[in-house]
Subunit: 487 residues, 2 copies
């Protein structure tokens, strides 16, 4: 007897018709066994064929663009145009094609990093992990970060690892369409059939059990801190490498020179806070406004947020969680200037602005520095640069940190950047962090607890592939036994 | 009141005169605070000065070579010539000088991996972690892997991180001499005085507390699995990146073609098993002999081990641990053909040979696959290639795996390498694994539990530096604020 579940249309709050299966433990065990065979097969597969699969998959997605985007729209409430059908779709297929290029790249500058030391006859490269990568995608990018089509998937496959992908229970029909296209592309290119395996959902307990299975070589997760820490604990216990992207406040520090133009700064910040209903991992949830220009900025931001339409969140749980988070921040001493309530129909929430002074923030940082996943932002007023630096020092590891500067802000940049640089993966100047370009120089990562390790990036090829590779050395091995790029 | 401890001369078993301090918790806290200042200072220090420090330190070690090597000899029982005074000393200063070259390398192929994307104005590189690296070295390389002079130290400093180094309680006078030379070199080159801090010893509890301190950015450990797992647990709980090198059987698979020359193979294997009294992390502790040639190999190995002098272990605890491990392997079904007992004077142990058949090994792999740290080796007899492959499949992650081949062994190589490649960091053919060359193509790493992550290497510059770096992105940042290598 298989358990099933249904997704909702967040725009209406109504349950969708199709029932989707929850995988049983026996099914997960069978997938682990099949993935071990696939790993062995992939180890002797020409990288050109892995690249061909990635391209064929991207082509099949493109061919089904309309139906996939429409399904994702129905299940997530995200805008169909341009967000899903263009922006996220192009990002997804673009990542797969970039990964294809990386997969077949055997040059010295490729992710394989071949090194040949003739004098000692010692060679090294990077290769697949020898087992499946278990990918667990988030709710907020149903295509570009999906376990069966997103950046983790593309990187894991490019390195030659099979993938067991778990869909997200909020958009199972989307996942099914993606997984079907992947399976067709696997068949078309003749890869081992277990190269890509998909499960719509499983219980957290069974998921953690799968992570501990020795046939699972790594786990990749993007999502909430609570779920991420549970996965981290399971991976730590079994020594399984984990790529975790968990949470981030993405603080923005607005220096006096930047606050000289309060309207344009407020427009940029509010636009970034409300984009995708504020459900981005790079949403700049906290803005530290330094000096006397803070008031005008707050007024401008409040005006914009009051005028903005409620955002559609992904789930009823998300609405409850956001309301709870806002209450936590208010109880700790912040003042709510607008919004704060759920809205109809469906899973909507009012754009929300909270403000707090630096002294209160510093006293109750654990409560106030809560990630609010949705269209809500907190302004922290700092009397001067010293207070701003004190706030920066109290921040955990972040995906991004932004410093907005204007004339005369060089000292402020220097003081803040010294503190923020080691606390974030990406440091921005005068640019909101929400967009994450898929370019080789991107770092979508950061120190714990934003991610599990500061040395990696989840976006940007070929660097993101490193997460799913093993450093391999070949010492005195006969040339006939070596990969072609080491001869 | 500071606790103190004394080291022993393992060759005589007698306690040495000098008392060494155990750091208090307050002292460790003060070191963490000082290291935070040093990290901030190093972040704006010209890499050329960091390189100058590493070279000055190497020069000071060379100037004190005789006294340092003699002290290490007294405290460890390792041969003075050529092991300590030449081989390990040259390796140590060579690593520091290689790290100096890496520290000041700002090229595209350097560990900094600068990437500039002009179109998006997004740049990335690798930089220091923003806090101290806590280095904890092993007993078995008092210079080349020492927390204050070894490979982890050199890599952490080269990346621009301050180091808090813990000495090993078995060779504290050696550590003191090294730390004094490091401090003098820090002063000479004008780095922040807390760039290198040294503690002779601390309790495991206080060490784990230090790992959890947010001012500690990473921990690097080389040593036993038991201690490594304790450190891993502390690091996992606080999200602290950990570079762990823990344990390895370093299996050797001798195929029929290689066993056609039993005497030369036995000479190579026994030499590697007994080198440094078998106290290498890369000691090939298990040899799987495939086919009917096993008997002649075992006879030859037994002859060599019976003729070899007892090896001096580092400590009385090591003698007890080895005896206990041998008893565990015997109880699980192996037969002891020679050795097995402690010997006088001091902490000596007889060269030991154990044999077991494949069926017994496979039935009790958890007990029989015990790392025996000392001059002891286990031969597993496998009737055929299938049995050998079955054994390989049961092995945990390893630092190294070796396949010895001869004429007609190509199929054997292919079958075994497919299983062993993802299970080890370094795969060797017809070469014993004990030596670990410090070349860019070296990988001294491997899957858990050999280390904590398969993607890294602890030896081989510049790759070893990656362990102690953060991936950093600069997005839209004004050129005047960027590191020179990103402009």
């Amino acid at each position: 007897m298989t358990d099933t579940f249904r997704a909702y249309n967040p725009a209406t709050g109504e349950a969708l018709e199709t029932a989707h299966p929850v995988a049983t433990r026996a099914e997960l065990d069978a997938m682990a066994a099949a993935s071990a065979e696939a790993a062995a097969a992939l180890a002797i597969t020409d990288p050109v064929r892995i690249a061909a699969f990635l391209r064929a998959y991207a082509d099949r997605l493109d061919a089904n663009r309309a139906s996939i985007a429409a399904t994702a729209h129905e299940e997530t409430g995200l805008p169909l145009e341009p967000r899903l059908a263009q922006v996220e779709f192009d990002r997804t297929t673009g990542q797969l094609r970039q990964a294809a290029n990386a997969a077949e790249d055997i040059s010295e500058t490729s992710w394989r990093r071949p090194i040949i030391d003739e004098a000692t006859d010692i060679r090294s490269d990077r290769g697949p992990l020898g087992g499946a990568v278990f990918t667990i995608g988030p709710n907020n990018f149903p295509l570009a970060f999906h376990g069966v089509s997103g950046g983790d998937f593309a990187a894991a496959i490019a390195a030659g690892n099979p993938v067991i992908a778990k869909g997200h229970p909020l958009h199972p029909a989307t996942g099914r369409l993606l997984a079907d296209a992947a399976a067709a592309a696997v068949a078309e290119t003749g890869l081992h059939p277990a190269t890509v395996q998909y499960v719509a959902h499983c219980t957290p307990e069974d998921g953690c059990r799968l992570i501990a299975d020795p046939r699972i070589a790594a786990v990749a997760f993007t999502g909430s801190r609570a779920a991420g820490l549970r996965i981290k604990a399971a991976a730590d216990a079994s020594g399984t490498p984990a790529s975790l992207e968990m949470s981030s406040l993405n603080p923005v520090f607005a220096l006096p020179g930047a606050l000289a133009n309060p309207a344009s700064l407020a427009e940029a910040w509010v636009g970034s806070v409300t984009l995708g209903a504020g459900q981005f991992c790079t949403k700049p949830g906290v803005c530290v406004a330094v000096g006397s220009g803070a008031d005008a900025f707050i007024d401008a931001a409040r005006g914009l947020l009051e005028a903005a339409a409620p955002g559609v969140l992904f789930s009823r749980g998300g609405v409850e969680s956001l309301a709870h988070g806002i209450a936590t921040v208010e109880t700790a001493g912040a003042t709510r200037l607008c919004g704060g309530r759920p809205a109809d129909p469906g899973f909507r929430f009012e754009p929300t602005l909270l403000v707090v002074d630096a002294a209160t923030f510093l006293t109750r940082v654990d409560a106030i520095a809560t990630e609010l996943f949705g269209p809500a932002g907190l302004v922290v007023t700092a009397a001067d640069l010293d207070e701003a630096v004190a706030i920066a020092r109290r921040l955990d590891g972040q995906l991004t940190a932004t410093i907005c500067t204007g004339a005369g802000d060089d000292d402020g940049w220097n003081a803040l950047a010294a503190v923020l640089r080691p606390r974030c993966g990406r440091l921005l100047e005068n640019k909101m962090p929400t967009g994450v370009a898929v370019v080789p120089s991107m770092v979508h990562g950061g120190p714990y607890p934003a991610t599990g390790h500061p040395g990696f990036t989840a976006v940007g090829l070929p660097a993101s592939i490193q997460r799913f590779t093993q450093a391999r050395c070949w010492d005195g091995v006969a040339p006939s036994r070596l990969p072609s790029w080491l001869v």
